[in-house]
Symmetry: C2
DNA sequence: TAAAAATTAGGAATGATTCCTAATTTAAAG
DNA sequence: CTTTAAATTAGGAATCATTCCTAATTTTTA
């Protein structure tokens, strides 16, 4: 692992250029424009490698497949469980204290990578209130 | 939706009794002991209904299928991205402030349902340091 | 420049979940 | 009660996302 390949480079570029939290499928559709011969398995394999290397973040959406994120700047995510929409969220969690409590409660240190707030957004909430026919 | 069915009741009971964040498959294996005729699609359908109703929580694990949780008490989760382990985490997030910042940043109110900390646990971190053969 | 290691394309295989349908169960109405 | 309507079920087919497999190619090493 960790050798040069133009495919891997193109995939990382696409993820860097598209800050829309694309799915693997979407990454494939974008990267195929640059590397028309690329196969889907190569996209999946390299996404996983880039994630392992810590170059990109994996976001477990509430709905549909996983999404990926290149973070120029550290941030969290808010995800709606009804519509699946993902919002970038810039918040200063007290990581030092979270870490301390985590060690107390689970007995081991955790390297915090991404904090995700799952909830229901206003739009989806109000939709629910309308009596369904 | 929302009518009586002994299958749905049995599924909810199983989730209440097993606080191990079971997957749909695991719920099926447990509930089949009580309702031997039950089908897997019934389990999936009812898990979704119970989630829609807000009776159970869905946890997007870093690894493998979704997991479910009946919460007698509100809590968060810490999930390891390498091994997929899920830890219950009792932490007092400043939800009022989070909500305020969220409205500022994304322009809409969010009903916070579950805060998840994705990271890498000590065990997995130390495994990585060992030179792989 | 030759040998070893890593990566690729492409398709098959797998795993999780949803969808479909006819039969059954539950609820509602007279 | 009985009848009718609505909801739910079992079971399997279908779908979707992802991983696995293999022979060929590319990259690295020495």
């Amino acid at each position: 692992m960790n050798n040069y390949s133009k495919q891997r480079e193109a995939i990382l570029e696409v993820i860097k250029e598209n800050l829309i939290h694309p799915t693997a499928e979407e990454i494939y559709e974008l990267v195929i424009k640059k590397e028309p011969q690329i196969s889907k398995s190569t996209v999946y394999r390299n996404i996983n490698i880039l994630f392992e290397l810590g170059e990109i973040k994996k976001i477990k959406s509430a709905i549909g497949p996983d999404r990926y994120d290149y973070s120029y700047k550290k941030h969290s995510h808010i995800i709606c469980e009804k519509c699946g929409q993902i919002f970038d969220f810039d918040y200063n969690f007290d990581n030092k204290n979270i870490l301390k409590k985590a060690i107390e409660q689970i007995g081991k240190k955790i390297d915090i990578d991404n904090i995700v707030i799952y909830g229901i957004c206003e739009n989806c909430k109000s939709k629910n209130k309308i009596k369904e026919e």
